[in-house]
C-alpha cells in the first residue's frame, strides 16, 4: 500500500535537481552578465552625466510624485471602464463576423467595416475627433465630458483589434469540435457560447493581454485633448522645472500596473492547462 521511492528513483531525483540547479545557475550568470554589460554601456557613454541629471533626479522625482499620481488615477479609471467594454465589444464583433444567417448580412458587413476602419486609423486621431468633434456637434443628450468621450474613442479603437484577436482564436478551433457540438443538437449560438468561445479565448489570452496592456498605455493619448492624466502631468512638471525625471516616474506607474497583470494571467493560464492535462 505505502510506497517509498526506490534508491534508483532517489538518485534520479537528485540528478534532476542537479540539472535544474545547473540550468538556474547558467540562466542567472547569463542574465547578470548581459544586464551588467548593458548598464556599463549606458553609464560609460559620453553624455551619461547630462542624461542622469536630466532624467534621474531624486528631488524632482519626489516633488512630481503626487501630481503624477493624481493624473494616473484618471488613466486607471479610463482603463477600468474601457477594458471590459473592449472585451465585450471585441467578442461581439468577432462573433458577428462568424455568423452565417442571411438575415444577419448587414451586421456582418457592419462588423467587417468597423474593424477595417478602426484598425486603420491612428488611435490618437480617433481620440481627437471624438474629444473635440462630438461636443462640437452640439447634440443634446450627448455628454461633453472629455473623460467619457475619450474612453469611448479608445474602446472603439481597441474593440477593433481585440475583435480580430478573438476571430483568430475562433478560426483556430478544429472543425471537429463544431461537428461534435452540432451532433449533440446544440444550436449554432450554443456551439459558439459553450464549445468554441471558451477554447478560443484560452488560446488568445497572450495576444489579448498584449492589447489590454497596450490600451492601458494608450490611455496617455487622451492628453492630446488636454486631459490632465499622468503623462500630461509629467510633461507639465517637465516644462516648468526643465527636468525630465517625472517622465520616468510616470513610466514607472504604468509598469507597476502592467507587469503584475501579465504575470498574473500567465500564472492563471498555466494552472488551467495543468488542471486539464491532469498533471
Amino acid at each position: 500500500m505505502t510506497w517509498a521511492p526506490s534508491e534508483r528513483e532517489l538518485e534520479r531525483q537528485a540528478v534532476r535537481r542537479r540539472l535544474r540547479l545547473q540550468q538556474t545557475a547558467i540562466a542567472t550568470v547569463v542574465t547578470v552578465v548581459v544586464a551588467v554589460g548593458l548598464v556599463l554601456l549606458v553609464v560609460s557613454s559620453p553624455g551619461w552625466d547630462r542624461v542622469r541629471d536630466y532624467f534621474l533626479s531624486w528631488s524632482h522625482a519626489r516633488d512630481s510624485f503626487a501630481a503624477i499620481a493624481e493624473g494616473f488615477w484618471i488613466n486607471i479609471r479610463i482603463f477600468l471602464v474601457a477594458e471590459p467594454c473592449v472585451l465585450v465589444l471585441g467578442a461581439l464583433v468577432a462573433i458577428a463576423r462568424q455568423t452565417t444567417s442571411p438575415w444577419l448580412a448587414p451586421l456582418r458587413l457592419l462588423a467587417t467595416g468597423y474593424t477595417d476602419l478602426f484598425r486603420g486609423i491612428p488611435s490618437i486621431m480617433v481620440v481627437v475627433i471624438c474629444g473635440i468633434g462630438i461636443p462640437a456637434l452640439g447634440l443634446s443628450g450627448v455628454t461633453s465630458s472629455l473623460f467619457w468621450l475619450t474612453t469611448f474613442a479608445l474602446v472603439l479603437c481597441y474593440g477593433a483589434y481585440v475583435a480580430e484577436v478573438f476571430r483568430a482564436g475562433i478560426l483556430a478551433i478544429h472543425p471537429t469540435q463544431v461537428a461534435s457540438a452540432e451532433a449533440l443538437a446544440l444550436t449554432r449560438a450554443q456551439t459558439m457560447r459553450f464549445v468554441v468561445l471558451p477554447q478560443a479565448v484560452r488560446r488568445v489570452v497572450p495576444p489579448l493581454m498584449n492589447d489590454l496592456v497596450s490600451l492601458q498605455k494608450d490611455t496617455a493619448l487622451i492628453s492630446a485633448v488636454g486631459v490632465f492624466e499622468a503623462l500630461r502631468a509629467a510633461q507639465d512638471y517637465q516644462g516648468y522645472n526643465f527636468n525630465g525625471t517625472p517622465l520616468l516616474v510616470a513610466a514607472a506607474y504604468f509598469l507597476v500596473v502592467a507587469v503584475p497583470l501579465t504575470r498574473l494571467t500567465d500564472w492563471l493560464m498555466r494552472r488551467q492547462i495543468e488542471k486539464e492535462q491532469g498533471r
Binding site: 534508483r8 528513483e9 534520479r12 478544429h174 472543425p175
Partner: protein, 248 residues
C-alpha cells in the same frame, strides 16, 4: 542485478500516478527482439499510459526502463535519441491536420532521419499502397475515414523504420477484412525484424499476432504467456473472469 533475460525493452517496477491516482504500480515487462507483445486489460487499466511511459512521453514516478541495454529512464538520456528508434501510433491517431497524408509520413523521415525528400516520399507511397491508401497520399487527414486515418497513423510510424513499434488500438476503427490485412502487415513487419508492443481489445487479433500476451490489472502485469496458454488456460482467476467477460 538480473541482467540475464535482457530483452530489447525492459521495464522494471514501473510506477506512474496522476495526482496521487496510481495507474501503474510496480509493473514489470520484458520485450525480446522480434517479439510481438499484446497488452490486454480492462478499459482504464493503463495500457495507453504504459505505452506513453515506454517512449518517455510521460515521466515515470519510479522504476527502470531499459532499451537495447541502456537505461532510458535516466534523466541524462536525451529522449529524442530514444524516440528516433521507437515508433508510436496513438489511440486517437494524432495526425497533423495541416499536412497532407504524404507530408505526415515524410516529416520525421526528412527532418529527423535526414532521408532525402524524394526517397522519403517513395517509401511513404509504397507503404500507403500496401495499406490500400495509394490514392489518398495528397488528401488531408480530416478528409479521411476513421479507419483510413488509423492506417495513415500506422504508416507514419512505420516510415522511419523504427526498431520498436508501440501501437495503441490500431484495429479499433477497422472492418474485419482490414483487420486481417493489418494483421498481415504487422506480422510481416515483425518477421522483417521490428519488435512490436500493442495494446488491444481484440482478443482474436492478439491471439493471431502475439508471441506473448500480457494481462494488465491493478497497475501490473498480472499474468503473461504465449497466446495459447493465456487464452486457453489462464492461471489467475481475474484473467479468467476478464476473458469470460470479453468473450461473451
Amino acid at each position: 542485478m538480473t541482467a540475464t533475460v535482457s530483452g530489447l525493452l525492459e521495464a522494471k517496477a514501473l510506477r506512474k500516478s496522476y495526482r496521487g491516482r496510481v495507474v501503474l504500480d510496480g509493473l514489470d515487462l520484458v520485450v525480446a527482439e522480434h517479439d510481438v507483445v499484446c497488452l490486454i486489460g480492462a478499459s482504464g487499466s493503463g495500457k495507453s499510459t504504459l505505452l506513453r511511459c515506454l517512449n518517455l512521453l510521460e515521466t515515470i514516478d519510479d522504476g527502470i526502463i531499459r532499451f537495447d541495454g541502456r537505461e532510458i529512464s535516466d534523466p541524462l538520456v536525451d529522449p529524442r535519441s530514444v524516440r528516433r528508434e521507437i515508433g508510436m501510433v496513438f489511440q486517437a491517431y494524432n495526425l497533423f491536420p495541416h499536412l497532407s497524408v504524404l507530408d505526415n509520413c515524410t516529416l520525421a523521415q526528412v527532418r529527423v532521419h535526414g532521408v532525402p525528400a524524394g526517397e522519403a516520399a517513395d517509401r511513404a507511397r509504397a507503404l500507403l499502397a500496401r495499406f490500400g491508401l495509394a490514392d489518398k497520399a495528397d488528401a488531408h487527414p480530416d478528409a479521411l475515414s476513421g479507419g483510413q486515418q488509423q492506417r495513415v497513423a500506422l504508416v507514419r510510424a512505420m516510415c522511419t523504420r523504427p526498431r520498436l513499434l508501440l501501437l495503441d488500438e490500431i484495429t479499433a476503427a477497422l472492418d474485419p477484412e482490414l483487420v486481417g490485412e493489418v494483421l498481415e502487415i504487422v506480422r510481416a513487419e515483425a518477421e522483417a525484424g521490428t519488435t512490436l508492443v500493442l495494446a488491444t481489445h481484440e482478443m482474436s487479433f492478439a491471439r493471431e499476432v502475439a508471441t506473448k500476451v500480457c494481462f494488465l490489472d491493478g497497475g501490473r502485469v498480472l499474468e503473461q504467456g504465449p497466446p495459447e496458454q493465456l487464452f486457453g488456460d489462464p492461471v489467475e482467476e481475474r484473467t479468467r473472469a476478464f476473458l469470460a467477460r470479453v468473450r461473451s
